[in-house]
């Protein structure tokens, strides 16, 4: 049977069959698209390159009092980050983009948490994990290297390794 005879119903009784078959074909092609999407993610995972981050001076420790913050960009000028000097005396830095919808996060009024004012998501100031609200992932943490009085950004941790420490000293 020729192709056009299969795709177009000549007799009225066949029309219901053809409509269902074509709908089934549409569903299966959509399913193929989903499969291709999963394959694309797999390929991206297999062939991903480890990003090489440059070192960038963030701040001098004496410039930020306890409870203070400083805004900076890392690794590029379009990547806003925020540095915290916690009440415990530690320096921690995170990407300022909320993992929900990329609003800029700010210190919460209690000084103990990081807040996304758009949808009231809250993150821990200690390790960037989600405490409350819609954000699905922790804030990407900027790996800091402390050299004397200087704080250097040396990389980004997406929060998948819980054993990594927030701040290195050397």
């Amino acid at each position: 049977m020729k192709l056009w005879r299969e795709e177009f119903s000549i007799e009225a009784a066949h029309e219901r069959y053809v409509a269902r078959r074509q709908f089934g074909k549409f569903l299966v092609l959509t399913s193929l698209g989903m499969f291709v999407g999963n394959l694309w993610i797999l390929l991206r995972s297999q062939f991903r390159k480890e990003e090489a981050f440059s070192r960038a001076l963030v701040a001098r420790t004496g410039d930020i009092p306890r409870g203070g913050v400083k805004l900076f960009t890392y690794p590029g000028p379009q990547d806003p980050c925020i540095l915290f000097h916690t009440q415990a005396g530690r320096f921690v830095a995170y990407s300022q983009k909320c993992t929900h919808l990329s609003c800029a996060v700010i210190p919460a009024q209690d000084g103990q948490r990081i807040e996304c004012p758009c949808h009231h998501g809250f993150f821990s100031i200690e390790d960037g994990r989600v405490l409350q609200g819609p954000p699905p992932r922790p804030l990407p943490r900027i790996v800091l290297d402390r050299q004397g009085e200087e704080l250097w950004a040396i990389g980004i941790d997406l929060g998948t390794d819980p054993s990594s420490s927030p701040e290195k000293s050397s």
């Binding site: 069959y17 299966v28 959509t30 399913s31 993610i41 797999l42 991903r48």
Partner: protein, 80 residues
């Protein structure tokens, strides 16, 4: 009571197969979004099993589509 209309049993089978394909597709959509979310979060280990499962769901859907084609062909050949 049997349906006197010609080919109605074939149509019921087609509807059942299409419903199953739709359910598989919904699962596949959820799987893709969950895998993408995990990938963006840096969890790369889930990509391989998710792709395998998605391929299995596609294969099942394709097998059902071949079933639909077979019924379609058979029903049309029976109709004068």
């Amino acid at each position: 009571m049997s349906d006197p209309r010609p080919g109605s049993r074939g149509l019921t089978a087609l509807d059942g197969a299409i419903s199953l394909i739709a359910i598989l597709l919904i699962v596949q959509m959820w799987l893709l979004t969950a895998t993408l979310e995990a990938y963006l979060a840096g969890h790369h280990s889930v990509a391989a099993p998710a792709a395998a499962l998605s391929g299995g769901l596609f294969a099942a859907g394709f097998a059902l589509y071949r079933f639909i084609e077979g019924i379609d062909r058979m029903a049309r050949s029976q109709t004068p």
